[in-house]
Symmetry: C2
Subunit: 208 residues, 2 copies
């Protein structure tokens, strides 16, 4: 098979999507190697998961930087030695801007726990709470490229599930997370196999 | 079984959703009787479909009325003798307002060819064109109650389908329509079985 691509994960919290990617990367035929996990929260639980998988970690505490661009420059500096082809955000609670986006154009992915463009701009359980309060019958998750527009970059993979009458934000989060853990590795695989084609703001998938 | 509810359909065009409802109402165990089709376009093709099913039709040409409320009052007058419990919009190209909504509170349904709240405010092929241009991977249809807020009333039924790379607005319309023809009769059935419960802006379904 082709040479593997190098990926980095940026996270801030539990890191279940990090683990889904780490597990996918353990398969010999998965086209990516997870080189490094960078967290901006020094005690993020995701760090322990990385240790379990023997994956290099780095902490870049955003509170140590007065300016966002200095924080981002430090993350870039930490990533630099690893030859990163793709940056995957997994519950990363910082918004990325100018210099970072320019360093990795259409090479940063994020996962959002709704069917974008619906319920953009919210995070975590807030998304599921809004979904339930609005009363939609179908929700899901979206893997998309990160651009300067929050939750509005080109969409790579979406998966849908039904919302049930008895759902709470917590129960919905659990079922959407199951889909996230499938969608994110799929999106990374397609990227690393060079199969994603950008057409306008659509992401088309080349046949293998 | 319980006494059937009386429904009316308001349409302006082809009327494939009208036909889906007319066909459903032919089943002896379907809890609704389709009493009348009202169109606002004198030569709407849907009129011929109604004739095929032996359903009463009426034309209320909105161009004959200077004020929207006079048009709506005339539609109400036409419906009155039929003891209508539920009004179903099926490709009806007029926005309903004040007096009509007050006459049938939470008794008017519409179907929209997207997963609302995404791609609200558009009509027909425009919806599918926007879906494709935005690049979502999942779309569908929504049956909702009609309120004063365009395409934003409480959602009764949604069904999702994948968007394919090769889709055109036309091909997507065809596949979404298949879902519409299942979703609309289902929503009408649930309403007519008195199984819909409004909770905030959620529509819950009582078990049978």
């Amino acid at each position: 098979m082709a040479i593997k691509k190098n990926i980095a994960v940026l996270a801030s919290g539990r890191g279940t999507n990090f683990e889904a990617l780490a597990r996918a990367c353990q398969h010999p035929d998965f086209p990516a190697e997870l080189k490094i996990l960078v967290v901006n929260v020094p005690d993020a639980p995701v760090l322990a998961r990385a240790d379990n998988y023997g994956i290099t970690t780095a902490v870049v505490d955003h509170r140590q930087f007065r300016k966002r661009k200095d924080f981002e420059a430090e993350v870039i500096r930490v990533l630099e030695p690893h030859g990163i082809d793709l940056v995957c955000l997994a519950g990363f609670n910082r918004i990325l801007t100018g210099c970072f986006l320019e360093r990795f154009p259409m090479r940063i992915m994020n996962i959002h726990p709704s069917l974008l463009p619906a319920f953009a701009g919210l995070q975590g359980l807030e998304v599921h709470r809004a979904v339930i309060e609005y009363g939609v019958k179908v929700t899901g998750c979206t893997v998309h490229f990160v651009t300067g527009d929050l939750d509005a970059g080109p969409i790579i993979v979406q998966r849908a599930i039904p919302v049930r009458d008895e759902d709470t934000p917590e129960s919905l989060a659990v079922r959407v997370l199951v889909e996230e853990h499938q969608a994110y590795p799929l999106a990374v695989r397609l990227f690393c196999e060079d199969r994603l084609i950008l057409a306008g703001r659509r992401v088309l998938v080349r046949a293998q």
